[in-house]
Symmetry: C2
Subunit: 326 residues, 2 copies
């Protein structure tokens, strides 16, 4: 074999190696994995009657409970509570309400009893009155040191390895992958690129009111008190229409807050894939669905299968759960 | 020369042909064109100290008056007025107000006298009570037949050829190009891909309230009465932060409604380009700035040059104006 032939053989070998590598190594060899791959093949093979042009290959995924864990409470709330603790150590006089006192004490039960009003007080205290840049520096600092109370992992190590692989697989097949989450856009954008390979402009979510004004001589976007938009339930398809302007081909979630987004996606013409991550793994994660306060899943479990949605059984379908536990 | 050498020479020649082709053929050889090219070179040349990684190469442009014409009134308002005329021909009883009667008569002067309230009535009558799909079909039908009152061109032939070239040039240099306009997202998305090469997910703008509900058994996004967001003035940087989450490298506009967007962009660290299209060409288009009701430009002309913004002089800097007039 001369040098050119060796080179050619090396290139061919390398190419075929890439093509045949398992795109979803942390998924067990079950029907869930098969359905995903068969679906993706059907919309990306130019010879398929279900072929979809790359510009229409849009995939949207909820974040909390779908791409990373959400127990015992949403991680963004843990950030807010940790912030109140730190602020109160510097200046205890900020604890002007029962909700803020409960947060400073790490008392999630009392916070939960206070309902939306209490949560909003904690959010306003920690998510407003500063520039987007300063807020995101604060979140980045927290992420670099905070540890989850039961796993001991960093929060951004508690992304789901099988879902990270799915996102990467879809991008390799020319999908544009989006987060569409009840979580805050400014919060998620701190880690979405690094953790999921999703750039800031593909992170859709809830947001606080913001203002544009000059602060210390600099034009600044400032996070203000109050909620600008809640990206949950009907808000999800509404926000997808606003920001993306196309009905997705794939929508994945884990709770009934994702139901309208998956319903709208799968009601579209042609092939569509609706996917629900069912938290069945009490050993490696937390098992919960219809009776849970966080990530309640009833309607999706009851109606999803009849609508052809893929219900992913974490305990059975995933060989690994957390990215940080590999 | 053997065959391999011929092939090599052909490839080299073709490559250098591509590299040296003029990216902005409808721009005259003036300082405006030079400044754009020098800026783009400085942020895309890996050896430049101002080099910016492709993922941060974001360019945003206003639409009305920046990418296409906006005289004698915004084209979206002409669509709305034409729609009222057509609806009134089928059912005159819909003309329940002076604003709607003025619209049906094509009486823009009376509409203008009625102010925002009159315009909102005409918008509600034509931009709500139907699905996004039905609305967009209606706009597409209108665009395929309607002609501009003075040029006789189709409205989507009244895009500015030099700006279409600029968008294409920026994309060739790995910029992501966005529209950020006071115009409606659902309206602009009908032609943005075809006219500008900008996909729906890169069209940012104003929007009506929308709902998600089941209509005739189908989950549907419906346009509802009322304005959800006005993407003008401070709304532009606020919306860029919400949707893109990055400060652009380049911002272009033509009116003081674009001032905050350009101000925020050019106040960013490192190299930035602010650009204003100044309507100086009364012969080929319409000459207007500080005294105009449409596209009023005062602050940008007064302060822009001191802030280093490029003021494009249409009469002097462009060899062609309308795409459809080539």
């Amino acid at each position: 074999m001369n040098k050119l032939m060796t080179l050619t053989a090396t290139i061919l070998f390398a190419s075929s190696g890439i093509a045949s590598a398992d795109p979803l190594p942390s998924w067990n060899d079950t029907s869930a994995r098969d359905r995903i791959i068969v679906f993706v093949d059907s919309v990306t093979d130019p010879k398929s009657e279900d072929y979809v042009t790359p510009s229409d290959r849009i995939a949207v995924f909820d974040n909390d409970g779908t791409l990373w864990s959400e127990q015992p409470v949403y991680f963004q709330l843990i950030y807010a509570v940790d912030e109140v603790k730190e602020m109160a150590q510097k200046d205890p006089s900020i604890l002007t309400s029962d909700a803020l006192k409960a947060a400073a004490a790490g008392d999630y039960a009392t916070l939960a009893e206070g309902g939306e009003k209490a949560i909003l007080e904690v959010l306003n205290a920690t998510h407003s009155g500063l520039s987007v840049e300063d807020y995101q520096s604060s979140v980045a600092d927290w992420l670099s040191t905070a540890k989850h109370p039961t796993t001991g992992l960093g929060y951004d190590q508690m992304t789901y390895q099988p879902m990270v692989e799915l996102l990467s697989y879809l991008r390799d097949e020319d999908f544009k992958t989006y987060i569409v989450s009840g979580g805050g856009i400014h919060f998620m954008r701190v880690f979405a690129e690094r953790a999921y390979g999703i750039p800031t402009e593909q992170v859709i979510g809830s947001y606080t009111v913001t203002s544009y004004k000059t602060v210390d001589g600099q034009p600044t976007i400032t996070k203000e008190p109050g909620i600008g938009f809640v990206d949950d339930k009907e808000g999800k398809p509404i926000n997808i229409d606003r920001v993306i302007g196309k009905r997705p081909l794939i929508a994945g979630g884990n709770s009934d807050g994702d139901y309208p987004m998956i319903e709208w996606t799968t009601a579209g013409e042609g092939p569509r894939l609706g996917l629900i991550v069912h938290h069945t793994d009490g050993e490696r994660e937390v098992a919960y669905d219809c009776d849970s306060h966080i990530g309640r899943l009833c309607d999706g479990l009851e109606n999803g299968p009849d609508m052809g949605w893929l219900i992913v059984d974490m305990a059975n379908d995933w060989s690994v759960v957390y990215t940080g536990a590999r």
